[in-house]
Amino acid sequence: MPQLFSPVANTIARVVLIATLVVPFLALGAGYALMRSEYITGRSITTEQPVPFSHAHHVGQDGIDCRYCHTSVEKAAFAGIPPTHTCMTCHSQLFTNVAMLAPIRQSLAEHKPIHWNRVYRLPDYVYFDHSVHVNNGIGCSTCHGEVQTMPLIRQAVPLTMHWCLDCHRDPTRYLRPKDQIFNMSWSPPPDQAERGKRLLIEYHIDTEHLTDCSRCHR
């Protein structure tokens, strides 16, 4: 009787055997890596905008405070995107004829709002509140990165639930004093661990219930 299997069959069988053990783990790992990849989370992806508004220029060079445009950040869930009128407070005097700003002038003239593309997008079942964060020691740059260096805004953090919970479980690493909230170049001092603990008490933050589902989901 001739050989049913050629000698290669042994190799194939070995490879298949090993693959059945290895491939599921690899697939899981790849899936996990994919879910955390920038492709999925949108981190570091720069979004085109109708007007190439530069935070690097306005914040970095001009030193305009966040709250000049994002007016409701201290009192509401939504930080606020400035109405066209806010742009025109300066740009009716400065760069009045620059082509780049044509959509702004048009918006004011025609009374039609500008459609900005959202960069920081959370799922609809997440109810994030800016006011409660900035009033309790979380600064802008903790989530938004160093916007003063960004010509076009990009998502600086992954915005996964894992990332949210990371801080909700232990906020001490990110807590800042009240006067540093809007400082875009704040970095944790060497004794942050100790300062954070003090701030936790100062802000009356109850970390035990910060990871309750109902804090963010309704």
Partner: protein, 945 residues
Amino acid sequence: MSQVKQHPPASPSALNRRAALKLLGSGLALTLSSCGRPHEEIVPYVEMPEGLVPGVPMKFATTLALAGYGRGALAISVDGRPIKIEGNPRHPASLGATDVFAEAEIMSLYDPDRAKAPRTKDDVVTWDAFAQALFAQMQQEKARHGAGLRIVTGRITSPTLLRQINALLTQYPEARWYSYEPISDDAAFDGSMLAYGRRLAALPRLADAAVVLSLDADPLGAGPRQIADARAFSQRRTRQAQPFLRLYTVEPEWTLTGANSDHRLALHPDLIRNFALAVTAQMQGENAPDLPDPVAHFAKICADDLKANKSKALVLVGRRQPPELHALGHWLNAQLNAPVDFIAPADGNPLGDAQALQTLSRDLDDGRVETLAIVGANPVYDTPADLGLAHKIGKVAFSVHLGLHENETADQCSWRLPMSHTLESWSDLRAFDGTASIVQPLILPLYDSRQAHDLLGLMAGTIAPSAYDLVRQTWQAQRSGGDFDTWWKQTLHDGVVANSAAARVATGAPKRPDVKPAQAARGLSLLLGADPSVWDGRFANNAWLQECPHPFTKEVWGHGIYLSPGDARRLNIADRETIEVWHDSASLRAPARVREGQADGVIAVELGYGRTRAGAIGNGIGVNAYPLRTTASPWLISDVSLRGTGEIRNVPLLQHNFDLEGDGKDLYPVLTLAELAQGKQPPDHDYENRPTLYAKVNYDSYAWAMVIDTSLCIGCNACVVACQAENNVPVIGPEEVAMGRDMHWLRVDRYVPDPERPPGFQPVPCMHCEQAPCEPVCPVAASVHDGEGLNAQVYNRCIGTRFCQSNCPYKVRRFNWFGYADGQEYADLGADSVRASHNPDVTVRGRGVMEKCTYCIQRINRARHHAEIVDQPIPDGAVVTACQAACPTRAITFGNRNSKASAITALRREPHHYALLGHLGTRPRTTYLARLRNPNPAMQEKAQA
């Protein structure tokens, strides 16, 4: 009108294996390819309105009308969209609470079937075209001093509108204005004419009463005074109330007042006058008319109790009773020195409803009407059939209908004009006690609509000022001195014109009317009444109200004809059997509903259904009882014939699909004041000290809890609709309800009466059990507890096994069998306008997801965020749930159980506090106070009739 969309059938479809695999494959491919990030935009203002904070709810005071009378409201608006109505504490007809109709005004505003543009019979036209045609017509009227001009409206209490109408009538002296309400108070006004010789509105003060006898009156039932009367009643019905009010009710069919009374007697409407005469005779020591023994006994005890409580006793007579009985009521009240005030009525209708309609009908017959303007009324549908207005209105050459919908009347008119909703209008209104308040718009008109002030302005022919200016002029003229603008701003802010309540009228002694005893009708009588959900039919296209269960039958999307068990046996009619009722040439065909406590010899049906031009929601729901109505006898039709058809239909019900077997007395304990004084407690009073195997959880921060006082719950359903509006609860439609499905997060259970116990109501939201049975059975931990004791439902985790629903002993979990709010909406409720009504702080749930009451977690979180910003703990009373805010009697209290000083802690210490099914060891956070009653010991000597 859009087509009614059906849900896909629930049965498995004919899908073969190959097709299923194909679908699976394409589904997988689509899932993978849809992993990209969805594109979203942020669209800011060009110029932001001053004071607006994006996404933060703002409250504005305004006024909503019911049957012409105003009820103050604080409308909540988010980013310019009104999304919720709450009561205005400063307004005497709201007192901070709402009723079902006020809550549902949001749905009326966004109703996709609203009239959207002016139309003639054939064409969509512009307002300019109408204005030109009207101008030409009014020129003709001017020549004949308005002899052909007739204006028809509902009840009008608006000082500005009355001013405009009077100005128009001065300009056109021969013109006439007729106003009417289908749910008419003619009898009450005629009664005051008999007793006092003038048209007066009586304002009984329930809060000052100790004994009340209601003769088919329904102060606790739906109506413009419901909230005020219910609040006054509730103040006298808490354990601490001194004295605790005792309520006797004599009525032919169940009303909310009857259900909340201590003693109730079901009596044929004709015999109620005999009963009143018997009470009078007993009080005066005269000869009583002949009455059956139990009725005479009831009358005697009532009379003795009333007499023993002089100056705190009150007799109320209902709008369905004849004027003589109202006059007798006034006379009795005068003898008792009863707490009742009188005012001149707030509406400007001197004729009365019936006479106004009769005169209009005669004018139409004589061909005197050339120009007919119908403003906000629907006479083709809701006037008595013997007037035949339905056929006459269509013959008028120039007829105008201004209304929210293109309804039955618009169909007969040559011009159909869209009216702005109250939340889009400037106006003013008076409450039942004469208090004036301003109607303030929350939003610009959604469509090309105008309001009544604009139409009257056009009719007056001059370049009319805007409604805003007209209202300001009205009030400016009444004020002398002072800065008007400051006053105006304060009045708008308060939602009430200060000190504008009507002056109390000194009446003098009433005349005693000569009331003759009646003979009970031999044949069957048909009793009509206002509907608790759609009122007179004007709310028929409101999906929230159509799906709001009837307080007694729990029926939705329609109504039945109510029969007493005795009559049902006699006529051999089964419950839910379709029956036919006819009188002269008019007939009704609807399911029979047999109910205990209905008087023998009288069948009852509610008005307001059977609309043909209401819209996609209201068309063809229920039957129209107006054709049986006559002007002479608007409420009771004698000698009707009835026939069973043998056909038994499935009626959409939200309760009573199956009966409890004798557990009622544990679930819904009722204690008399005497029993309470003896120390009797409800069965599950001591539920927290029961032995348990569960580990004790320590709730160290806030511990949210709710206490519902069932003594105070009158069963009005305001909380049900409030919850629906606040929490984006979808409407599912009659077919789904008939399959036993239901989406209301809060239901009001009704406990049926038995010989020893009256019926009662028990609102049941989620119990938020500390040992929640729904949690351990969830395979994906979508049902979880949070650190404050809330039983949270995480929608994005839920995979729809429904294990939690099966394991919930309270049956408060609701499953989205279809995308009720998410692509598979009932009828036209998927329209964009309805989506605008959604509360942005609450997730709109998708298909296949379980949902339930969250204790209004969005409101808790708002209060928490505020507290964290100001660095203070959440104070007691800072979180008010939607149901709590709506409740007219303040039966619902919510708060932090861990706070020693909170209102909720005090209520939980009450001796009649208990937990529903507390013996199961679920340790619910929602608990109850048992129903307290104050029966007359004298009554117990003899059994009730």
